[in-house]
Symmetry: C2
Subunit: 282 residues, 2 copies
């Protein structure tokens, strides 16, 4: 496994790879790797000749009052984990190289970026699409691996790739959860032990809502009400958003008629967790 | 020469080309080819194995009150001209394919896009950077050829390419002019014969300003005043903007100390012409 830190070096390396017509998989992360990330790496490992793990805590996707400086960084630990999963290259670019002083260019996906998480994180998705566009241009992988935990991110990145005709395939991997159902996240470590005990209520509520859908409850309002009171009664979590939406347009669904998703963000103290569940009825 | 109209077909064609490691040059245009475009094609012809001329009147770079529907389209004539210049491929995508109904993604270069032409054409450069990003993703050329007549466009596209790490070289070709100095433009045909006779005053004024700079006049205000009165006294043109700017940041220069450019847009009736001249002292 090689650790490459500059754009020039990774391009030089990739040139030798591309000549040999190898399949390249990219797993973009902000580091602080957990089993969710590892599942992406494993899938990529099975499907490609060369796999590149990028680790970059992207300042452009954090708001001014968000946890950019506090976001966990654990270079050495991540390297060990990546090596175990047979990553070929860790790409570790610097903020200075990716965003030089006079940086001015952004990619944004209109409308979709303003919904759900976008409401409380105004420039978040513009930061995400910009860094992903940059990484795709630097690495030009055959396939990009994304995790379903960030469902809105997956929808937005897919839209960007289609709209800008970026020549890459996208594969999405299911959410990996702790044994008690909490979705794996680098931010879970911020939870106090009490909050950690409460947090599984998010997935439990989503799961029971899905069961209700399958049993015939197709009115979103009733489902969301059930989730909300479930969370509020059983935890200290404060709901940031809780919506039942179409999983292409992210528009709210009043009534469930086919497929969609329930997505939520809940704050435990200053730690904001997200989760979601997809459903499909016929 | 082949005329290719769909993204899928050009990608299939390019796959066979790329395997052979050929150098690909892209000349992006909106058609209505004139000698300015031809100079780009000729330069590209000398420097590449395969040259692709894209012709696409890009709706996203026209304002709602601008001349999108009136913009000249002359498919057959352009094909003849391209064939003469030994273009390999004309890429003629459709609006429907490049901007499907639910299109949402845009690339923009902050600040630079709001200056000069951006003041009277608010979303113009966002439309330009978006279509150029798309064409670069579809064609992935080695080199992109741009004309210096659209100086601000050149600066903005270069910035986008650097900032988004798009793997392409950019070459800029000098402005091609009519014998009387008028910069070649697809919009010149809209001028009445009286306006056509007046229009060379733009370049004449820019040229005499440059001479004055070389003779030691380094105060922008004096230079711009000279150009303005020259245009206003000798033509029916109404100045849209007239500025002396740094040719990286496009910030106005009060005093000329090294290099820069004077750029202008002038309306003759409803026809808006642009021109510019670069200078460098010492």
């Amino acid at each position: 496994m090689r650790v490459i830190k500059s754009i020039k070096s990774i391009r030089t390396f990739l040139k030798t790879i591309k000549i040999k017509n190898k399949r390249i998989g990219l797993v973009p992360t902000m580091g602080a790797l957990h089993k969710g990330h590892l599942s992406l790496i494993q899938k990529s490992r099975r499907e490609n000749d060369i796999i590149i793990l990028s680790i970059f805590v992207n300042p452009k996707q954090f708001g001014p009052k968000e946890d950019f400086t506090q976001y966990p960084r654990q270079e050495k630990k991540d390297e060990l984990l990546a090596k175990k999963e047979k990553v070929d290259i860790i790409f570790y670019p610097s903020v200075e190289e990716l965003y030089p002083k006079d940086y001015l260019t952004y990619v944004f996906v209109d409308e979709l970026g303003e919904k759900l998480c976008g409401q409380s994180r105004p420039n978040h998705f513009q930061g995400v699409t910009t860094i992903v566009a940059k990484l795709l241009n630097i690495i030009t992988p055959d396939t990009l691996y994304l995790g379903q935990k960030d469902a809105q991110q997956v929808i937005i990145i897919n839209k960007m790739i289609q709209n800008l005709n970026i020549p890459v395939k996208v594969k999405t991997c299911p959410i990996i959860r702790e044994p008690d159902g909490l979705a794996m996240s680098s931010r879970n470590r911020y939870l106090s032990s009490r909050q950690r005990k409460e947090a599984p209520i998010l997935f439990q509520s989503l799961k029971s809502a899905k069961k209700r859908i399958q049993k015939g409850e197709h009115r979103s309002a009733a489902l969301l009400q059930m989730i909300q009171s479930n969370i509020e009664r059983n935890s200290s979590g404060r709901i940031d958003y809780l919506e039942c939406v179409d999983n292409q347009s992210l528009n709210p669904l009043k009534k469930i008629t086919s497929s969609g998703m329930i997505a939520l963000a809940v704050k435990f103290g200053s730690t904001r967790l997200i989760d979601n569940i997809e459903f499909k009825i016929k």
